[in-house]
């Protein structure tokens, strides 16, 4: 221990601008745009209408099915609209627009401490579900679902993900320094919910101070250990992190629980703590706003629903960004507008002043992508197949095992957009399979 994972890359970390800055509170704006879908799965059903008075923590949307998550009001005020707005994924989605009354009243029953000692696993899951908690590392999978493994799967290890391997981002780092106690308590609750025997806190070597804090706090818990991992992207990807800290591999096509592991991001753990022990629905998070164009980069406490423009006004520009990325530069999504709101999964905004040129050339078989691929497939082969439109052959060449980390594209000297082709290939395959299923019915 610790183990390691195959492949990966080490891009310039670019974290210096924000990595030791304390978390700044951001003045809450006048209008908050709260998407009903901030998670993987089905969008929440709106339970409010324009004109309704809401308080902070009032339910705005209830989960529509098991794989869905509740959405709450981030401020007190009045609902002014329920309408589609452009969201971070590039498409419009239903949002509840709330006008802030600046009283910041909590809804009844919210923000009240309660005893967690007697809670059963089922209680914890219910409270997590009610608090609308989703994976805050960016995947945004509803947390209560991850805490509900089927009867026949035994989870023995909870891995708490503080790797934060994406360049530029330091939100998790700031959280670990500021609120390690909440992370450890939340992790203990998550471990209790799935009856995991041990908790492993994983931090990359470029955050030794965060490791030290977690290590000290973890010492107060039974069977909790903090691990310092060598810095390497994509260490924070679930499957790679599992391999790195437990030496186990998730079977191809399987889930972490098939390897007996549950992974939760540090911010998610803190949210679990506040959700379960304080009945605080998830309505705010820490995000990093940084990049070459950021005049005063930093880590911010931001309410969910805050339009980017509000955060960017606080940060200011040294020059107008050419591209704004939600998340980190390796896997983040380029944003179309600054009116898009911050969601539960927005770990940061990176303001870039230059972007890669998109011309590419033939594969020279240099093998760099093969060495970089963390799932040990052959990206160059996929790139050649997909360039020629051979989606089925690509599927037979392990295309579906790709975790879309982008390492192959990052290193390719021919600048081939390999991961873009893979994403398009997967989408085409999924669309075709859906069609076939329809036809079969």
């Amino acid at each position: 221990m610790p183990y390691t994972f195959n492949g990966g890359v080490h891009p310039p970390e670019s974290k210096h601008a924000t990595e030791h800055l304390p978390v700044r509170a951001l003045a809450v704006g006048e209008t908050l745009i709260v998407p009903l879908q901030q998670h993987l799965g089905v969008a929440a059903n709106p339970v409010v209408k324009p004109g309704d008075k809401v308080a902070r923590g009032t339910l705005l949307g209830e989960p529509a099915g098991f794989i869905s998550a509740a959405v709450h009001s981030p401020v007190s005020g009045e609902v002014v609209a329920v309408e589609p707005r452009l969201l971070g994924l590039g498409r419009p989605g239903m949002c509840v627009v709330v006008k802030n009354d600046f009283e910041d009243r909590w809804a009844e029953g919210c923000n009240v401490e309660s005893d967690t000692a007697t809670l059963t696993a089922e209680d914890i899951r219910r409270k997590v579900r009610d608090a609308g908690i989703v994976g805050m590392g960016g995947a945004t999978f509803p947390t209560h679902v991850k805490l509900s493994p089927p009867e026949n799967k035994r989870i023995d290890t909870l891995v708490v993900n503080g790797a934060e391997c994406e360049p530029f981002l330091t939100a998790d780092h700031a959280l670990m320094l500021a609120d390690a106690g909440a992370i450890v308590l939340g992790a203990a609750l998550a471990a209790r919910a799935v009856a995991a025997e041990r908790v492993l806190f994983a931090v990359e070597a470029n955050k030794p101070d965060a490791f030290e804090v977690l290590d000290k706090v973890a010492a107060f818990c039974d069977n909790a250990t903090a691990l310092l991992l060598p810095t390497r992207y994509p260490q924070g990807a679930e499957k790679q992190l599992i391999k790195a800290v437990t030496g186990r591999e998730v079977p191809s096509g399987g889930l972490p629980m098939d390897a007996g592991v549950l992974v939760q991001n540090v911010a998610t753990c803190a949210a679990i703590h506040y959700g379960v022990a304080f009945n605080r629905p998830l309505t705010e998070r820490i995000m990093t706003v940084t990049g070459p164009c950021a005049a005063s980069p930093g880590n911010f406490h931001v309410r969910v629903g805050t339009p980017y423009a509000d955060v960017l006004r606080e940060v200011g520009f040294t020059s107008i960004p050419v591209r704004i990325i939600m998340g980190g530069p390796m896997m983040g999504i380029a944003q179309r507008s600054v009116d898009i709101p911050v969601t539960k999964g927005t770990s940061g905004l990176v303001l870039l002043d230059e972007v890669p040129d998109d011309s590419w050339h033939a594969c020279i078989r240099c093998g760099k992508c093969v060495r970089a691929c963390p799932v040990s497939i052959i990206p160059s082969e996929l790139s050649v197949l997909l360039e020629a439109g051979r989606v089925d052959d690509a599927a037979n060449a392990d295309m579906l095992d790709c975790i879309e980390c982008g390492c192959c594209t990052y290193v390719c000297p021919s600048k081939r957009p390999i991961v873009n082709w893979i994403k398009a290939g997967k989408a085409e395959l999924a669309a075709r399979r859906a069609k076939e299923r329809k036809a079969a019915k």
Partner: protein, 378 residues
């Protein structure tokens, strides 16, 4: 400046899928770095073999560039000769030709290498065989006398030798050194089936036929333009290994295999080779026991150091995984050694061994796929 919405009309922000950053370095940089490491070898060849070697190199490089540009022009593709790959082909092609090769042979070889072996297959990245070696193999068959001439010019072998040897040894380390290659024309080791006469011949002029290991390593011997100096080739290779452009295992396994073969089967079909252990001291040069002399001689003579460092490591035509590359190198070593030690037809096996293994590359790739993450273990 403030974050005014007007500054971000939807089409002002650049949109693309991740990753949004790229590692520095591109194909051009790789190719030109390889070229840079070939320059010292080219420079030495001018010094050793005279100005005509420079003409051969220039004609080879220019022909490769011209053929590539003309083909791309005629087939309506964009012209990519600035990527440096045609220059590599031109340099390597010249390096595997004799310093007195007629220029038309060079041009024919360049045409075959660039047009048939490279562009006909789709250009850089798509070719199956190493273009320089295809060009050389073609002219070897078409113009055997030009590619394996009866005389091999050398003008400054002795000076090159002295630069190193006189520093380390007050006296010339062996009788051969004094005899000097300057302005002497003679056969290169291996190039003329020289192995067949491995033992000293009755006339006693063995020292003219068989240079010392020192000179073999330095390159102070007659031979093809860029093949002779193992020293410069290895230095160039070390640089490329440090840069991560070539896999160190390839030259090591290739040369190691040849060494071991020659070590364990030294005397096969080589008349008089049984006497290799008893060769006159002055031929041995380096202070190595006789048992190691023959295998080292095999490794440093002929073109296999160049082949192992610069051709068996060609990215396009060799396997993509490290495991595959090791198998490739092993195959090259076995074939080279077999051709040299067992065969009669070809004195020098390097070129053909690499071309043969190029052919096997897709097969090797198929059987050396890495085990993917989470593969269900059976």
């Amino acid at each position: 400046m403030t974050a005014r919405e007007e500054q971000f009309e939807p089409n002002r922000l650049s949109i693309a899928t991740s990753p949004h950053i790229r590692e520095a370095g591109d194909v051009k940089r790789i190719m030109w770095t390889v070229n840079a490491t070939l320059v010292p070898i080219a420079a030495l060849s001018l010094f050793l073999f005279g100005w005509y070697a420079g003409v051969v190199i220039a004609v080879s490089v220019i022909s490769c560039l011209v053929f590539e540009a003309v083909w791309q022009r005629l087939s309506g593709k964009s012209i990519t000769i600035s990527d440096g790959s045609a220059v590599i082909t031109g340099l390597l092609l010249a390096f595997v030709l004799p310093p007195n090769v007629p220029l038309y042979v060079v041009i024919v070889a360049a045409a075959v290498g660039i047009l048939i072996a490279k562009q006909l297959f789709g250009g850089l990245g798509y070719n199956i065989w190493n273009p320089a070696l295809v060009g050389r193999a073609f002219v070897q068959i078409a113009y055997p006398a030009a590619v394996t001439p009866s005389t091999w010019p050398i003008v400054s072998g002795d000076t090159w030798h002295r630069i190193f040897m006189d520093v380390r040894n007050a006296a010339p380390p062996n009788a051969l050194a004094g005899s000097s290659y300057d302005a002497v024309t003679l056969a290169t080791p291996l190039a003329n089936d020289a192995l067949a006469g491995f033992a000293p011949d009755a006339a006693g002029n063995v020292h003219l036929m068989y240079p010392s290991l020192n000179d073999l390593f330095l390159g102070a011997i007659p031979g093809c333009i860029g093949e002779t100096s193992a020293l410069l080739i290895i230095l160039g290779g070390l640089y490329l290994i440090c840069k991560g452009y070539i896999n160190w295992k390839v030259p090591v396994v290739y040369l190691g295999t040849v060494f071991l073969f020659a070590f364990f089967f030294p005397s096969w079909k080589v008349p008089g080779a049984a006497a290799f252990g008893g060769l006159p001291e002055y031929v041995i040069g380096l202070d190595v026991p006789g048992r190691f002399f023959f295998p080292l001689y095999q490794v440093f003579s002929g073109g296999i150091v160049l082949g192992a460092v610069y051709m068996a490591t060609d990215m396009v035509t060799t396997p993509i995984t490290s495991r595959g590359q090791v198998i490739f190198a092993l195959g090259c070593g076995v074939i080279t050694a077999s051709i040299r030690l067992l065969g009669h037809g070809f004195p020098e096996g390097c070129c053909y061994s690499i071309l043969l293994m190029n052919t096997a590359t897709p097969l090797i790739d198929r059987y050396t796929r890495p085990t993917k993450y989470g593969a269900v273990k059976k």
